[in-house]
């Protein structure tokens, strides 16, 4: 059977010209992480005609990945995610070149890996780590695509060399990795994530268990795959050069199962920045107890509302 590039991707040529499709073909994407996001994006890109991939991750499939990860099946549980995703890409288009690393790059390795790619797609659960990747992409002038689904909420946006950074739009303090980890582990930061419940429809009980480290992120297949498709669409916009991508502060935003073209909320980002200024300093420390008492009340109210 004839399986050359043109016959596999003939339906794409109704939209992309030959030179645009050639550009897509020669784009090299770097996808870092073990989440379902990275897998679905790499499959969509392979099906759109991208031929060069660098993928990196260290985990193996577990049963609870079944609800959203595209290469997780009952017979692949226990196998390495990166190896599975490489095999899948190759069985879509055998001419693909996939470089697979079985670990997550350290900060130093990022500086070697990022310049080799044209587009960087961080796909890790650990937000602090993906911020490092966004910083590396910016240092080397590469566009990076944010795809952040959780519950029935999510964001997709493109960050380029110029324009706001991910720290700006999400209100993350500009400190090093350890510093960010410390902040994200603090009770006061976790309370500020209340939008996971109000906009992301998380169950309050699950929310607490998650921040105690007993539960993973709550995720739903259609929501995650929709955000992944949008991220892949943005990647194709950059790769083909045909359209202008949705650059930060503009984004695709999903809330309570409804998606729209939107902007990152300035209120949320300034609220977080101010909160960090106040509660992170010595003046704010005595007020932590008061704030936690307040949030306790809010969460009790939210839980009562959910159980009604």
């Amino acid at each position: 059977m004839d399986l050359d590039y043109k016959s596999l991707f003939q339906r794409n040529y109704g939209i992309f010209t030959e030179s645009e499709q050639e550009r897509i073909r020669n784009t090299r994407v770097l996808i870092v992480g073990d989440t379902g996001t990275g897998e679905v994006i790499s499959v969509i890109l392979a099906r759109s005609g991208v031929e060069q991939f660098i993928v990196s991750g260290k985990e193996a499939y577990i049963a609870s990945d079944m609800n959203r990860q595209i290469c997780c099946f009952s017979d692949t549980i226990g196998k390495s995610k990166v190896a599975q995703i490489r095999d899948t890409i190759l069985s879509i288009n055998p001419n693909c070149k996939v470089i697979a690393y079985d670990h997550l790059p350290s900060e130093k390795e990022m500086d070697q890996l990022v310049p080799e790619a044209d587009i960087v797609i961080p796909a890790v659960d650990d937000l602090a780590y993906s911020v490092l990747l966004f910083r590396a992409a910016r240092r080397h002038g590469k566009p990076a695509v944010l795809c952040l689904p959780s519950g029935s909420m999510g964001w997709v946006s493109v960050f380029k060399e110029k324009g706001p950074t991910i720290e700006d739009v999400l209100g993350i303090p500009k400190v090093d990795y350890e510093g960010m980890r410390l902040v994200m582990r603090s009770a006061i930061y976790q309370c500020a994530q209340y939008r996971l419940i109000t906009a992301g429809d998380w169950r309050v009980q699950w929310f607490w268990e998650y921040f105690r480290g007993n539960r993973p992120l709550a995720l739903l297949c259609p929501v995650e795959w929709m955000m992944d498709s949008l991220a892949a669409l943005e990647t194709l916009k950059i790769a083909s050069g045909k359209w202008i991508p949705k650059e930060a502060p503009r984004c695709w935003y999903m809330k309570r199962g409804r998606v729209s073209a939107s902007r990152f909320s300035r209120v949320v980002s300034y609220h977080r920045k101010l909160g960090w200024l106040f509660f992170g300093s010595r003046i704010g420390t005595p007020f932590h107890k008061l704030a936690l008492w307040f949030w306790g009340k809010v969460f009790n109210y939210l839980e009562a509302r959910q159980n009604r």
Partner: protein, 314 residues
């Protein structure tokens, strides 16, 4: 592997009752191509356990650019069979009934009473329209997903609400053969001229679509986006947690915006639908041949103008 372990993460969002409702839900999918296959897999991964699949066709190389179970080693195999295998590899306890041959409308209607939701996803849109009609007659709710290029419509169609014909502006004809023949005519196909500005079709491909009956162009991200949104609407319907976007409202997807429109409420798509309906009505009167000649002139000008713009841009 028990159900609660596989779908553990869903319980962060759905209560036990809601997930149980999803588990017991069933769906009939007519056509397991791009949208049908994808919706089936997403629903299987969300915990839906009963599927009835209908598809006579086998995978071919041109399906590779968007169909979820099309791989080098599944080319040539029946799509329903391959999707069934994937569903069972995701959830071995799922019940999947696969019909691997061409069924006619009355045979499909006989499969409807046992399911909660009907998803007509056939390649041939005229075929799907009559599946929608049968679902409406039997009081079944249906799911509509229509992608083309970078544009798509998604909606839940409850019985007795505006139908897909009202959303897309198709003529209401009494038999499948008549509608199928109409959708293939040149004068009818001109009604999709908005595919070029809104769905980013290239003019030469569109010309092939009009004149040589090429298949509509599709790209993976849009097809998957529309299907994931369709699967989400189905989950909303099954779980009862959120209100689904149901007809007369529908999702309108382009590469720039995703929004909810309403049938017959002024917006771009409504104007296009009105135009189609009006022109269809004129074709039935004695001014029909005159309008057809006018359309030919218009097409020549439109082609030249778009061609000029395309070249100018590159």
């Amino acid at each position: 592997m028990d159900y609660e372990e596989l779908f553990q993460r869903n319980y962060g969002i759905f209560s036990k009752d809601e997930q149980q409702r999803i588990r017991q839900a069933s769906i009939l999918i007519v056509g397991c191509g791009g949208i049908g296959g994808l919706v089936a897999i997403i629903l299987a991964r969300s915990g839906v356990s009963r599927f009835v699949l209908v598809e006579f066709d086998a995978y071919e190389p041109s399906n590779m650019n968007r169909q979820i179970a099309c791989f080098v080693d599944t080319i040539g195999r029946n799509k329903a069979q391959v999707i069934k295998e994937q569903i069972l590899r995701i959830n071995p306890q799922a019940e999947v009934e696969a019909h691997e041959k061409l069924l006619n409308h009355s045979e499909i209607a006989k499969l409807m009473p046992q399911v909660d939701l009907v998803f007509p996803a056939a390649d041939d849109f005229a075929f799907s329209i009559f599946v929608f009609q049968d679902a409406g007659k039997l009081g079944k709710t249906a799911l509509m997903v229509v992608p083309s290029g970078t544009w798509a419509n998604v909606s839940i169609i409850p019985p007795d609400r505006p139908s897909p014909e009202d959303i897309e502006g198709l003529p209401k004809l009494s038999t499948y053969e008549e509608l199928s023949e109409t959708l293939r005519t040149r004068k009818y196909r001109f009604g999709t001229y908005f595919y070029i500005p809104l769905a980013d079709w290239r003019i030469d491909y569109y010309r092939g679509f009009i004149e040589k009956r090429l298949s509509p162009t599709q790209i993976c991200p849009t097809v998957w986006l529309a299907s994931a949104l369709g699967a989400l609407e189905a989950l909303k319907y099954f779980s009862g947690k959120w209100k689904p976007v149901a007809s007369p409202r529908y999702w309108n997807i382009t590469r720039e915006k995703i929004r909810i429109n309403r049938v017959n409420v002024p917006c771009l798509q409504t104007l296009l639908v009105w135009q189609r309906q009006f022109m269809w009505w004129v074709f039935q009167t004695r001014f029909g041949p005159f309008q057809e000649r006018l359309q030919e002139v218009w097409w020549r000008l439109y082609y030249r103008w778009v061609k000029y713009r395309e070249e100018h841009r590159s």
